[in-house]
């Protein structure tokens, strides 16, 4: 038996033994994901059991190095683990911004001490992170952020306000962009610091969206202390880290654009019926759906192609900008079609008869996809300037 075959057999046996039955049920929605933290939201006690068992093997983040709490798996092993989990329908044990965003940035830019301090608690699901980026006057123009960090010798004193901080009211720590210097260009003088959300002077306020309640918050800093050992990278050079992290965020959001399993066309036929030739009765709606499905097919093929090209060492410049732009616009089109096909029930806001307004709330929420993580217009600026080389 080869090493990989043995790894597969051992993994299969271990998962069979250790994955609780409840964790083999499909995730019911965003709220059903386990995100860990000091005061975790637990829908089912097995979420914590499963997370702890997986974390002991480093398998909450299988591809991170073992010395930081990851599994140290190579690509083949990580793929086998993924396949074996899929085989029994095992959920991922832990979802967090620590894994998807901060971790990659710390692995690339952090000191050894910072990695030792912060990565293992992420892997164990003990510390939940949030992202302090946008401010009321720094949205698309993120680099004009004004949250101040004053040098006080061994620490910084932080004052200012962040907005769109997802789960700030539930997070334990924040990775935050602050201004340490105002003298140079706006991209200089930004620093990337980490601090505890339980610190004195931090307050948060949830934001209600047009779609209803949301994970977003406003976050206020009033003389908050951040230790200098928690400055990532050099002081004033935080913009490079911020951008690196944004490419991870964009890829995450663009994934929303991929086509759902059941095609909109077949859903529409169930509602509207088809003529003798099998064509959807309303020709105008049929055209709009066909355009959407064609573009969704081409978008999916492009995601695959860019992935395959990256593996072959070729690459498409600004791929993440194309995906962010196109994927979110597609998702908005799909949601508009959901309303058009669904009719009156799709406009329901509350009550069991409307499934709590799921369709209309998703539709409204999708409007934010082409705003958050860099608007569509900013993505188009990036493509025009960096890929096409058009001048300022």
């Amino acid at each position: 038996m080869s090493d990989l075959e043995k790894f597969r057999a051992d993994t299969r046996a271990w998962l069979e033994e250790n994955c609780p039955p409840a964790m083999r049920e499909p995730v019911r929605g965003f709220d059903d994901l386990y995100m860990g933290g000091r005061n975790p939201e637990v829908d089912h006690p097995d979420q914590q059991v499963w997370c702890q068992r997986m974390a002991e093997r480093g398998w909450t983040v299988p591809h991170w190095p073992r010395e930081y709490g990851g599994g140290g798996l190579n690509k083949e092993e990580a793929k086998i683990l993924q396949q074996e989990m899929a085989r029994i329908g095992a959920r991922r044990p832990l979802e967090s911004f620590g894994i998807s965003m901060l971790g990659p940035a710390l692995l690339k830019f952090g000191t050894e001490a910072q990695k030792q301090e912060h990565l293992p608690p992420i892997c164990r699901g003990e510390i939940r992170w949030c992202q302090g980026y946008s401010e009321p006057n720094a949205g698309s123009d993120l680099a004009s952020l004004q949250t101040r960090a004053e040098d006080r010798g061994d620490h910084y004193l932080i004052n200012g306000q962040k907005v769109w901080t997802s789960y700030a009211d539930k997070a334990d720590w924040i990775f935050c962009l602050v201004r340490t210097d105002n003298s140079g260009s706006k991209h200089e003088g930004i620093s990337f610091v980490l601090f505890d959300m339980a610190s004195e002077g931090v307050t948060t306020r949830p934001i209600k969206l047009i779609s209803g309640s949301s994970p977003f918050c406003e976050t206020f800093f009033d003389n908050v202390r951040a230790e200098k050992r928690n400055l990532v990278g050099e002081e004033g050079k935080g913009w490079a880290i911020a951008k690196y992290l944004l490419t991870h965020e964009r890829e995450m959001i663009s994934g929303f654009g991929t086509a759902p399993k059941k095609s909109l066309g077949s859903v529409a036929v169930e509602t509207y019926g088809a003529d003798a030739s099998g064509r959807l009765r309303n020709g105008i709606l049929r055209h709009t759906i066909a355009q959407y499905q064609l573009d969704a097919l081409a978008f999916g093929a492009t995601m695959s192609r860019v992935g395959d090209e990256a593996k072959a060492g070729q690459g498409l410049g600004a791929a993440s900008s194309i995906f962010k732009y196109y994927g979110t616009e597609l998702n908005k089109r799909r949601n508009e079609l959901n309303l058009a096909i669904g009719g009156e029930p799709a406009l329901g806001w509350d009550g069991d008869v409307y499934e709590g307004g799921a369709t209309s709330r998703d539709w409204l929420r999708s409007k934010g996809n082409s705003i958050e993580g860099g608007t569509s217009e900013v993505q188009l600026n990036i493509i025009a300037k960096r890929v096409l080389g058009l001048p300022d």
Binding site: G265, S266, N381, I383, A384, V387, L388, P391
Partner: protein, 379 residues
């Protein structure tokens, strides 16, 4: 299959780009048009192309071809699109060779594919009868007559009609227009008695013609495939043709786009390079994203041909529909963003919009293929 070109395919693409740029580019197309050339291409250039083996690129090696598959032909067609190459690749290679291979008997393939692969034989499809692509509506009649058949009717949009030594004429042997059953493919030689080949002139200035068949007599062995049973082979060949034309349109659209972006970086108005205006930048960036999506879809569809994927029909219409849409947008933006100079015959961008519209129309435009895509997708 990974959606990525192999090293060998990248080399083929580069050698096609080199040869076509030098010998069969926009300058040659312009010269042929200005000389009112009836053939629409230069025979000596075709001999050079035959020397590269491209006529036989998708023909199996056992019949004298390169056996390189349709991804290879697609790459050559994309380059032919980029350079607007006036060469009979679409007629003889994409349609002729594909139909002979799909429908022909062993003896017919043995006799015809080797000379075609060598560049000595031109075979083209005669299918369309009305203003639009509607293969099931074929009405041209073929009646059994003694040992053979007698054909009556007319055909239009026959690519490179004046160069062809043989036509694959799709005729109705039974049923009614609208039925996919009852169609038969016949090989009709260009010098057959009763056949008139008329030169036609379309906006793209390429070789094209119409056929009039007045009691054209052909022997029984002129039938390609089964009597009344051409549909399966014809339909697969057409799927391949849709994808080949999508590959050509990808080349046309990409080249028109790149020339336009180049112009945006040069042209100054209001004391600034016009490419610095955000109104133009965003339109260019959107088009770039559409072209990247188009490229992925064409490659996926080309791979489906070689892999004998059951999704071939839906991918073929997806690719043709998408490329019709994007090539139309790229060439329209090309004219608009070039401004007044784009309207002049002296400037080359006009050749791109003209060829694009003919390639879009050939074998089904956006409306035909988006409808078919939806139908094949279950709505």
């Amino acid at each position: 299959m990974a959606l990525v070109l192999t090293e060998e395919q990248v080399m083929l693409k580069e050698s096609a780009a080199g040869l076509l740029a030098e010998k069969a580019g926009v300058a040659q197309l312009r010269a042929l048009r200005d000389a009112d050339d009836a053939l629409g291409f230069a025979p000596d250039v075709w001999r050079d192309i035959a020397g590269m083996g491209w006529p036989g690129i998708a023909i199996p090696e056992s019949y004298g071809g390169l056996g390189y598959g349709y991804i290879g032909l697609g790459l050559v067609l994309e380059q032919a699109g980029r350079h607007l190459s006036p060469v009979p690749l679409q007629s003889t290679v994409l349609l002729g060779a594909t139909l002979l291979n799909a429908l022909g008997s062993e003896a017919q393939k043995q006799a015809l594919l080797a000379p075609l692969a060598a560049g000595e034989l031109h075979v083209t499809l005669a299918l369309q009868e009305g203003p639009l692509h509607a293969p099931e509506d074929t009405a041209l009649k073929a009646e059994a007559d003694g040992a053979g058949y007698r054909l009556h009717g007319s055909k239009c949009l026959v690519l490179d009609a004046l160069a062809a030594q043989q036509f694959v004429v799709i005729a109705r042997t039974s049923g009614e227009p609208g039925d996919s059953a009852g169609l038969t493919a016949f090989l009709v030689p260009a010098d057959a008695a009763g056949l008139t080949v008329e030169r036609r002139s379309l906006v793209d200035a390429r070789g094209v013609g119409a056929l009039q068949l007045d009691a054209v007599q052909v022997p029984a062995d002129a039938v390609l495939g089964d009597v009344d049973g051409a549909w399966d082979g014809l339909s697969r060949s057409l799927d391949i043709a849709y994808i080949g034309l999508a590959a050509e349109l990808l080349g046309i659209a990409s080249e028109a786009f790149e020339r336009t972006v180049g112009y945006l970086k040069e042209r100054k108005q209001f004391g600034k390079v016009i490419g610095s205006f955000q109104g133009l930048q965003h339109r260019a960036a959107e088009l770039f994203a559409e072209l990247e999506l188009s490229r992925s879809l064409v490659l996926k569809a080309l791979q489906a041909i070689d892999a004998d994927d059951p999704q071939l029909p839906v991918l073929a219409s997806a690719a043709k529909a998408k490329l019709c849409e994007v090539a139309q947008r790229a060439t329209n933006e090309g004219i608009q963003m070039h401004g007044g100079i784009g309207m002049t015959d002296e400037y080359d961008i006009g050749f791109f919009i003209k060829r694009a519209r003919v390639a879009q129309h050939c074998f089904g435009d956006y409306n035909y293929h988006l409808d078919r895509f939806a139908r094949l997708s279950g709505f």
